[in-house]
């Protein structure tokens, strides 16, 4: 066989598969888009039927009267409790848009460090496309209560993690002890979560190890759902993570979440390439209320 034929055959044989989380995300969005499309087309077709009927002079008056009666009956029989949340939710799930976040200023670092880490994400943060979220999501973690595996952080206060300040300057971050540590945000009610964004520390190039992000409805995380795990060697014991390690920058890390429902968000880490401590500048949780 000629080498060109072989190459053609090899290209034909490339077969890639989607990830389950991608399937769920795409099917969810496509399903909502189809619903919206069907709703619009049925509205349009009923309008055109209406036009044909109304062209008939004989039926014009009778049908107009009938429509008015139906509308009046409908108005009076309605209990008036039209749920705006329902309408908003239908609209918002119909279209996914790139998540827009306000980025903190990058910190001038001088000579960049040569960071060595296993399974490092080769894509520069500025080239990673923003995660897609339904219209209307908001940061529900803002000013919410934060607890951690340590009662008293080395530096800063836990409330800084949700205070909206993402700057990388001294005084903006919280430092927890060495080893595997976690912080937990109580969203105060159950939400449907679509994205989590975290800034650990972006004043220099460094990689935080064993980042695991979980969501649960129980504050003790009895039955959590893991939405991010880059512990490639299972050193923290949550299983081997498939997400890449990454270098901290002012872009933070956007984690796409497939509409997981929960009230508590917990983030783990286990030191970094510069030292053994764990740091957090800000965590944002983008979500919609549950109907």
């Amino acid at each position: 066989m000629k080498s060109a034929d072989k190459i053609e055959k090899k290209i034909k044989n490339i077969k890639l598969c989607t990830r389950r989380v991608t399937d769920e995300r795409i099917l969810g969005a496509a399903s909502a888009a189809l619903k919206e499309s069907t709703r619009k087309s049925s509205k349009a077709s009923s309008k055109s039927v209406g036009r044909i009927i109304m062209k008939s002079k004989i039926t014009k008056f009778a049908i107009a009267a009938a429509v008015m009666i139906i509308v009046l009956v409908g108005l009076y029989s309605h209990d008036g409790s039209l749920d705006p949340a329902t309408i908003t939710s239908d609209r918002t799930t119909a279209k996914l848009v790139p998540l827009k976040i306000e980025l903190p200023r990058p910190i001038f670092q001088g000579t960049p460090k040569n960071v060595q880490a296993e399974n490092l994400d080769p894509i520069l943060p500025k080239n990673i496309p923003p995660v897609k979220v339904p219209l209307g999501v908001v940061n529900v973690a803002l000013n919410k209560n934060v607890t951690s595996s340590e009662e008293d952080p080395f530096l800063g206060d836990l409330e800084q993690i949700t205070d909206g300040d993402k700057q990388g300057i001294d005084g903006s971050y919280v430092e927890l002890a060495f080893g595997s540590q976690w912080i937990q945000i109580d969203l105060e009610e159950e939400y449907r979560i679509y994205a989590i964004v975290v800034w650990h520390y972006h004043a220099e190039d460094r990689v935080y190890h064993d980042i695991v992000v979980r969501i649960d409805n129980d504050q003790d995380f009895i039955d959590p759902i893991t939405v991010f795990n880059n512990d490639y060697d299972n050193s923290s014991g949550f299983g081997i993570g498939k997400n890449p390690q990454y270098i901290e920058t002012n872009y933070g890390r956007q984690i796409s979440v497939a509409a997981v429902q929960g009230r508590y968000v917990r983030l783990y880490s286990r030191g970094n390439t510069s030292n053994s401590e764990n740091h957090y500048i800000e965590v944002e949780v983008y979500a919609l209320p549950i109907k």
Binding site: E8, S37, D121, P122
Partner: protein
């Protein structure tokens, strides 16, 4: 083909099961074409996302005039072309050539486990976009040269020469052979 006609008919009436069936039937083909064209797993997934959601959003007006697979693959190619043009216009994006190794080193990207696939996608990324597009659409998307020419608005001779030059360059890249 008959199955697709039935699925599309059901889809036009808002049948969610038909939408799911179409997605499951063609998602991997669409992702493969997107990844071969964009050489970036995250962008390939986003491309698949955009195309399929738009397809669902316009399902009510959709008329199946040819193979559904060809239609979806062509949509992926159009979206990928837009994406690449957009990136080329952004000065920041020029600093980093799309890195196909990103696909291989990210273990979360299933399907890209094979080293052979990585090597091929890497080599495809080295080709000029117009040659890559013709090769991928013909070999992966199974589109005829005639159809590709019609979709791209160019002559069939141009399509064939792009294909031939592209394959020659790929052979050189993969085997080190002189064209």
């Amino acid at each position: 083909m008959v199955e697709d006609i039935i699925l599309v008919k059901r889809l036009r009436h808002g049948d969610q099961n038909a939408l799911r069936a179409i997605y499951l039937k063609y998602k991997d083909d669409m992702l493969t074409v997107a990844a071969c064209l964009l050489a970036d797993s995250a962008e390939a997934e986003d491309c698949l996302h955009d195309v399929f959601v738009r397809f669902a959003a316009n399902a009510g007006d959709f008329r199946l005039r040819r193979s559904l697979k060809n239609f979806l693959i062509t949509c992926i190619a159009n979206r990928a072309r837009d994406w690449l043009r957009q990136k080329a216009r952004q000065p920041a994006a020029l600093e980093q050539i799309p890195d196909p190794a990103g696909i291989a080193t990210d273990p979360e990207r299933q399907g890209l486990e094979s080293e052979e696939s990585d090597r091929l996608i890497h080599a495809l990324a080295e080709l000029p976009p117009e040659q890559r597009e013709v090769i991928v659409l013909h070999l992966q998307g199974e589109l005829t040269f005639k159809l590709i020419a019609s979709e791209l608005g160019i002559s069939i001779n141009t399509v064939q020469s792009r294909y031939r030059y592209g394959i020659d360059k790929l052979r050189k890249l993969l085997t080190g052979a002189q064209p």
